[in-house]
């Protein structure tokens, strides 16, 4: 008996070839990049809006993350302050409708850090879409065809950058479609801070970041999502790790109103290591949906995920995580942990930590918990004379502390500030 085909939902934004060609021409791209866009457009045309039967979409309505118009409706380039240049690093402001604003420290310049608008990087077409192809999904195909704020970043082999590379991506009114291509050369070391900020209830973001880490490279990737209230956004990041490459991903997500993220790393060479730590803070009526993937394609690889969620108000979080270990990836270790802290009676947390293991030579564990504040801990602190409010604040800080300590210095103060502010709201009978 054949399965009936699910009808393609109607709420699908229009994107045609003429518009894509026009965009490409406006950006001054070469023929190869235009070809990539048209390929993605063909995939997009054949891709239905995700069916909510698919478990990764069980908790979020894809149509609510989509603007009615993808191209042509974008407002003027979002005004944003260029953050301070971190010592020994670089700062980049990435907006649609304007070339990326770049400031490099002397050290970064000397080391040969290459930063360019993606549309003007002559070699980009060969690598674009190799880590996140258009076939990845609906939003990735959309991005591949219609990205309008592109950045190409390359850290040359063996270079060691002391300061972070800070990339600020403000959300514009209407639709923002950023695309980041990051390459870290063999044995190079770098910290990349990707910060999605700003925006209002009229903002829709569909972003894709591809990271390639060469053999033995050390990469720290901080993803900070601090959108304004009302923003709807879909972020996809994938890192492909070559032999002995080492990636640390730090995710902090607390902004926006409807947020979905698809984060992951592909361990594609023997000896590769990937660690992902992160936390989500949800308040009011925020809808937060985060997905992590560690895909082990090579042997002797290692990965770990420590993902935390703390919710207040009517916030809702869904976390889905997958560890996938291929047949060829023997002698592999993979760990995954998801902890959810429920700080109000009206919030809701769903968690699906998954394992798909296709070979036997592995060590693999995962764990997930959902619980309110531990009353015993509160009681213990109160018994030491600490007022209840302060005790609660201490416990939540403790819950987040391990991840907070991993946040790069350049953005840590602003992250701590938000955490403190949220905690003070939570205090004083906000439950």
């Amino acid at each position: 008996m054949a399965n009936p085909v699910t009808a393609v939902p109607e709420a699908r934004p229009l994107l045609d070839e003429a518009a894509v060609r026009e965009l490409s021409q406006r950006l001054g791209e070469n023929e190869a990049l235009l070809e990539r866009r048209l390929e993605a457009l063909r995939v997009f045309a054949d891709t239905a809006l995700p069916d909510r039967v698919q478990h990764l979409w069980r908790y979020s309505d894809p149509s609510r993350l989509l603007p009615s118009a993808i191209l042509g409706a974008a407002g003027p380039a979002a005004a944003a302050e260029v953050p301070e240049l971190p010592e020994g690093g670089a700062v980049i402001l990435l907006r649609a409708g304007a070339p990326p604003l770049v400031r490099l420290s002397d050290a970064a310049e000397k080391m040969g850090l290459r930063v360019a608008a993606l549309e003007l990087d002559g070699d980009a077409a060969d690598r674009l879409g190799t880590t996140v192809p258009a076939a990845h999904g609906f939003f990735e195909a959309l991005n591949g065809a219609a990205w309008s704020a592109g950045l190409s970043l390359e850290v040359p082999p063996k270079a060691r950058l002391e300061g972070p590379i800070r990339i600020v991506v403000p959300a514009a009114a209407g639709s923002s479609i950023p695309r980041l291509l990051v390459r870290i050369g063999e044995l190079a070391e770098a910290t990349v801070v990707e910060e999605h900020a700003g925006g209002t209830e009229e903002s829709y973001v569909t972003s894709v970041t591809e990271i390639e880490a060469g053999p033995g490279a050390h990469v720290r990737h901080m993803l900070l999502q601090s959108w304004g209230a009302g923003v709807a956004g879909h972020l996809t990041t994938r890192a492909r790790l070559d032999r002995d490459a080492d990636l640390a991903t730090i995710v902090v997500s607390f902004g926006g109103s409807r947020v979905k993220m698809d984060l992951g790393a592909v361990l594609d060479g023997p000896g590769a290591r990937s660690e992902l730590v992160g936390f989500v803070l949800g308040h009011d009526r925020q809808h937060m949906d985060h997905h992590t993937v560690h895909s082990h394609r090579s042997g002797r690889t290692w990965s770990n995920i420590d993902f935390k969620v703390a919710l207040t108000g009517y916030a809702r979080s869904a976390y889905t995580g997958v560890i996938r270990i291929d047949e060829e990836a023997g002698a592999t270790e993979a760990y995954q942990e998801n902890r959810n802290l429920l700080l109000s009676e009206t919030c809701r947390a769903d968690t699906i930590p998954e394992l798909e293991i296709l070979t036997d030579d592995v060590q693999c564990t995962h764990g997930a918990t959902v619980a309110p504040l531990d009353e015993e801990m509160v009681f213990y602190l109160e018994s030491r004379g600490i007022p209840r409010e302060q005790a609660e604040r201490l416990i939540v800080r403790g819950f987040l502390e391990k991840t907070l300590s991993r946040v790069p210095e350049a953005v840590r103060p602003q992250v701590v500030e938000v955490v403190e502010e949220r905690l003070s709201h939570f205090l004083g009978g906000h439950r």
Binding site: T359, H366, A368
Partner: protein
């Protein structure tokens, strides 16, 4: 060819000698292949069922025909099911009997090989031996009858205790629950019906053996167990099946109802031959202070999809699922558990152990749900997987949906292979590698085995031993 490859290829080729056997078929009535309203009408007419059941079957058939196949799970294997090539009803020769001597010789031989008379001599209460779609042998010990316990096959239950059946039938698993429960609701035949009156404790486990013995025959048992307030009962179901050349479908529906303060334990060991699709819906409803336990072992079949569920609808109800799955080469054990906490102070525990060997694949698919208002609930989920052979596969798909803050939810999973150092240690004590592997596997499933009655534990250990034979890689 490497030793592991040889082992993978030879696995289950000797199923016949190991535990498969096949007797010639003898039937009084065999419905034509395929399913339509005429077949359903025929089944209902033949069984002389009341009007409401006839309508229930027809309604369920409409639901079955309108529902799509599940879009999740092992799509490839599910796609192989050909609903039009299945016999939906067979009536075996011989009338229902209460005396062992009256059971036809052929069927007796089958049961002899399953060891039923042995078991009965020991301490079994009653044997409802399901041969084909109808119960042929059935005995209830006198003291059970004196206690007012009803233990019979589902067809008899419907005939003799219609008011109880009508009250509970299809209330825990409605036909529209899923495609296979709709199929069962339309075509069910046989299965067990148990009613335990208030404050009655059945001290000895009630057992039924199930068998399938016809090629291309679907088996659609329907089991309904009701433990009235303060009652307790342990029901055991065990299956083995002979070897077939073409696929066979098994889609049972099992409903358990534990009223206030009642206790039901339902134990299963299934060892279908590796061409059987075992797509079973099992669900229990636990009222105030009730306890329901599913103890579930899955060894055979080509594809098993089975997620015993417990709806904790009364305060302080407790649910447990304890399961073991063994997937040999070519098999997919897609099993799991569901716990729905719909009342305050309810607690649950899920322990799942799976072993994948050769090219076998085992999946844990589970759901823990805490609804709004289900305060002060606790659940603990533990999944352990053991992988034997580099082409084996293990998946874990747990889902936790939590809409209440005053709860505690814990989930853990571990996946590992047979540890070389453990084998080495045992070998250094003079134990052969084969023996060492077997000991480790038996140790791995020990928490499950110790929950089984003794003769089942012995049988399970023997089955594991057969599965592990020649597994030195």
């Amino acid at each position: 060819m490497r030793a592991t490859d040889r082992e993978i290829e030879s696995l289950n080729q000797d199923y016949l000698e190991k535990y498969g056997f096949h007797d010639a078929e003898e039937y009084l009535l065999k419905a034509p292949r395929g399913l339509n309203h005429e077949v359903v009408e025929m089944i209902s007419r033949y069984k002389n069922e009341p009007e409401w059941m006839r309508e229930f079957r027809h309604r369920s058939l409409d639901i079955f025909l309108s529902k799509p196949m599940p879009k999740w799970g092992d799509q490839e294997a599910l796609g192989e099911i050909d609903f039009d090539n299945i016999y939906y009803y067979l009536k075996p020769k011989g009338q229902q009997t209460k005396d062992w001597n009256e059971v036809p010789e052929k069927i007796k031989q089958t049961f002899d090989r399953l060891g039923i008379p042995e078991a009965e001599r020991k301490f079994l209460a009653g044997v409802t031996a399901q041969y084909e779609s109808e119960v042929v042998y059935h005995s209830i010990r006198g003291d059970l009858e004196k206690m007012g316990v009803i233990f019979c096959d589902m067809d008899t239950g419907l005939r003799e205790h219609e008011e109880i059946v009508k009250k509970y039938f299809g209330t825990v698993i409605p036909p529209a629950d899923n495609k296979f429960s709709a199929l069962n609701s339309a075509t069910w035949s046989g299965g067990s019906f148990i009613y335990v009156p208030p404050n009655t404790k059945v001290d000895i486990p009630l057992q039924a053996y199930f068998r399938i013995n016809a090629e291309n025959m679907g088996q659609f048992e329907r089991t309904l167990i009701i433990a009235d307030e303060g009652a307790s009962v342990h029901y055991i179901e065990g299956c083995t099946a002979p070897v077939y050349s073409t696929d066979s479908l098994h889609a049972a529906v099992v409903e358990l109802i534990a009223l206030k303060g009642a206790h039901i334990r339902y134990s299963t060991i299934q060892n279908w031959s590796t061409n059987v699709f075992n797509l079973v819906t099992k669900r229990a409803k636990a009222y105030e202070d009730a306890v329901v336990e599913w103890v579930d072992g899955n060894l055979g079949s080509k594809l098993t999809m089975k997620y015993p569920a417990i709806l904790l609808v009364g305060e302080r109800a407790h649910g447990e699922v304890l399961s073991v799955a063994f997937a040999g080469s070519g098999q997919h054990q897609d099993a799991g558990a569901k716990m729905i906490h719909a009342a305050p102070n309810t607690t649950s525990r899920i322990i799942s152990k799976s072993i994948s060997k050769g090219t076998g694949r085992s999946s844990y698919r589970g759901l823990v749900k805490m609804t709004k208002g289900a305060v002060n609930c606790k659940t603990h989920v533990e999944c352990d997987a053991l992988l034997i052979g580099e082409r084996s596969r293990s998946d874990t798909y747990p889902t936790m949906e939590i809409a209440e803050d005053d709860v505690s939810v814990e989930h853990e999973a571990r996946v590992s292979k047979l540890a070389d150092e453990q084998i080495f240690y045992l070998q250094s004590r003079g134990i052969s590698e084969d023996q060492a592997r077997l000991m480790i596997v038996n140790g791995f499933i020990e928490p499950f085995v110790r929950e089984l009655p003794m003769e089942y534990a012995v049988e399970l250990n023997r089955l594991i031993e057969l599965e592990m034979e020649g597994s030195v890689g």
